[in-house]
Amino acid sequence: MKDASRLKRVLDQGGFAVTAECGPPKGADAEAILRKAELLRNTVDAVNVTDNQTAIVRMSSLAACSLLKAAGLDPVLQVVVRDRNRIALQSDILGASALGIRNVLCLSGDHQSFGNQPQAVGVFDLDSIQFVQVVKTMRDKGTILGGEALTKAPDLFVGAAANPFGDPFSFRVVRLAKKVAAGAQFIQTQCIYNLERFEKWMAMSRDRGLTEKTYILGGVTPLKSAGMARYMKKKVAGMDVPDEVLRRMEGVPAKQQAHEGIKICVETIQRLKEIPGVRGVHIMAIEWEDKVAEIVERAGLLPRPVISKQ
């Protein structure tokens, strides 16, 4: 059990997986990430660690994952292609596997102009789909790009992100198909507020047979306030916050908005459980990790299954 991907086992055994996100600190403070991790122990199957999210410099995801692994959790290493070329990416994959990290999520990453280092060069040597393919080939064929053999192949459960709400809608499923074809074994989606649109996307994905080939985990983010809902609606690219969700948040007094946000989140998860092809939920409670346990419990997802060793 120590060295296997718990997330993979929960999914392979037919369970409804629960993952949550954890942002590393803006400092060399190991304690900070471990504190967050404790809030999630036994609450989730795996913990995603973000990679300089929004192009803001934070402790590296690889280092933070290593700390979480040592603390007995199952980390999901998020890797963006914005900051590293193919040499560094493949190297980090080998390093992650050597450290016992067993899950990796391959992402494009937010453009560098969003963060606190806008003068940095954006590398983008590979894109996220090519990266998935590279990791899969390293694992299954034991070779790096170009065909040279590795002394030992990495062992990783490979995932990618998907945005059911991005433009153009018609192409979203083609992109998902490409990710699956490249080797994505699990998918974590952008956070869902528009269930109708998500259900459409799921239907299209099922039609293409993609739900047979990959585990889709629906993303959710609890809203802290009406202000947050408005911000996400207007300012965050690729996000769809329907008017009725905004109305619900605005319809309660300020002090109760957080409570309402969590309620909406729990309801969303309950609906996700009903959608065929959705194999889990990914909770992104940014800087609100202490609420994850409550959300998971109210959604009827506790206790987490005990995983048999295989």
Partner: protein, 222 residues
Amino acid sequence: MITAERKPIDEIRAIIAPYKKVLVLGCGSCVAECAAGGEKERGMLASTLRMANKMDGKEVLIQEKTLDRQCVKDFVILLDDIIDQYDAVLSLGCGAGVQAVAEMFSELPVLPALNTEFLGETRDQGYWVENCLGCGDCMLDDFGGVCPLARCSKQLLNGPCGGSREGKCEINPEVPCAWQAIIDRLDRFGALDRLEQIYPPKDWSRKQGGGPRKIMREDQQR
């Protein structure tokens, strides 16, 4: 064409400050097209610099000339007869032009008046957009004539990324999403299924693998 924009006057004045006999050199090609360094702009800049010097009581000789192209040796050599009169050249050429002049007259400081920007097209009068990276391995036939490297902010070959909104890039609502354009274009040709294949990683060695690139054509040489 290559596009450029003139540096702020203050910066230019600081750059030429040490010199007493300056030749302001315009270029009749790309920088004239983008109204940054052609004959008219050269005239404006030289006049402005002379006026500023007069106001400051500085005695500096500022003369002017325009070459059809600054990046071609055969034009640059035309300066041979007059170059000794000056202690610096203020070039309104693009970076290629500045360096070509500097290469020819290596004893003389050749200073840039412009900031060279990108390879692009004149989309409309007074409107220039970047569209080529000079990657050395053109794939425009695969992408309906829209370059995903030059025009996608993340250089995705398997785009789009999911951050675009109404056909505009996530980094700036004024920047069109290249992948939206590619999809629309291929759709129009009925070739959208081409995008179902996974494009392999780009060979960047064709751009940077050997340092600054060169082309040698014996059939073109004397």
